[in-house]
Amino acid sequence: MKFGVVVFPGSNCDRDTLYALKDVLGQDAFFLWHKDHDLRGADAIVLPGGFAYGDYLRVGAIARFSPLMSEVKEFADRGGMVLGICNGFQVLLEMGLVEGVMIRNRHLKFLCQHVHIRVENERTAFTNKARKSQVLRLPIAHFDGNYFAPAETLKALEREGRVVFRYTDENGNVTEEANVNGSLHSIAGIVNRAGNVMGLMPHPERASEELLGGADGRVILESMIETLKARETSKKKRS
């Protein structure tokens, strides 16, 4: 399947994301330059981690205005699959493709460490290969990963099952200590109403090989591949 990885000035995890999709998972993955207007037939778009535009002004605030983002928005509106990782999640939030905003980590320090996240919704296009309440161990690396949304938004997210991942301890318990950045409701990842756009703060591309300390991130990328393949098959059946 074809994956387009968007590159903004200041993106850092673009090469890592490409490596995970292409070299580790054998997909057809390529870079999409932020100034272009062509998604090059990608089946799914990934906004990678990093410091787009230096995180100046606000995280993701300037990147969302990149020329390519109008194509990405149209693609998402049409039901195309979009994944935002870390800085990519922040861009999706600024664009309004998913709801809420990221503010500075609770203890005001950059955090690079492993965390545990629990799969809250295993029926999304991004988690269909995971089990309900499965606990994944993934790395985070961010300064602004503290998820905030107004009360009504939070209620809706919970009610509609759109919280995909929550920070927990290694046994899957939601605790204050496990919520290292202070996110409301310990939210680590959410999906939009249509279920085709997801953002998460932890880095699945950094946890796709045992050699680097664990491969729990693969299940997310593999779920996406599975979803895309299923769509392709059903498209072929109908034509």
Partner: protein, 82 residues
Amino acid sequence: MKVRILVSFKDSVLDPQGQTVKNALHTLGYGAIKDVRQGKVFEIDLEAVSRQEAQALIPEIADRVLANPIIEKFSWQILDET
């Protein structure tokens, strides 16, 4: 024309940086400080724009780019009309 725009967190949003500054001031003995909210100041130099045009333009750029309306509010003033 010179315009100053202030962007800060809405009252309902927790401002950990403001809190940290407040605590630091208390530690230094400034007990009279009740609260601190941290924000950003943008000083914008506009070319050949009338007062009316500014009154439409500034809120638009503040809302669209400079502030995130979910958590931030803004206010602005014209410093120098020349």
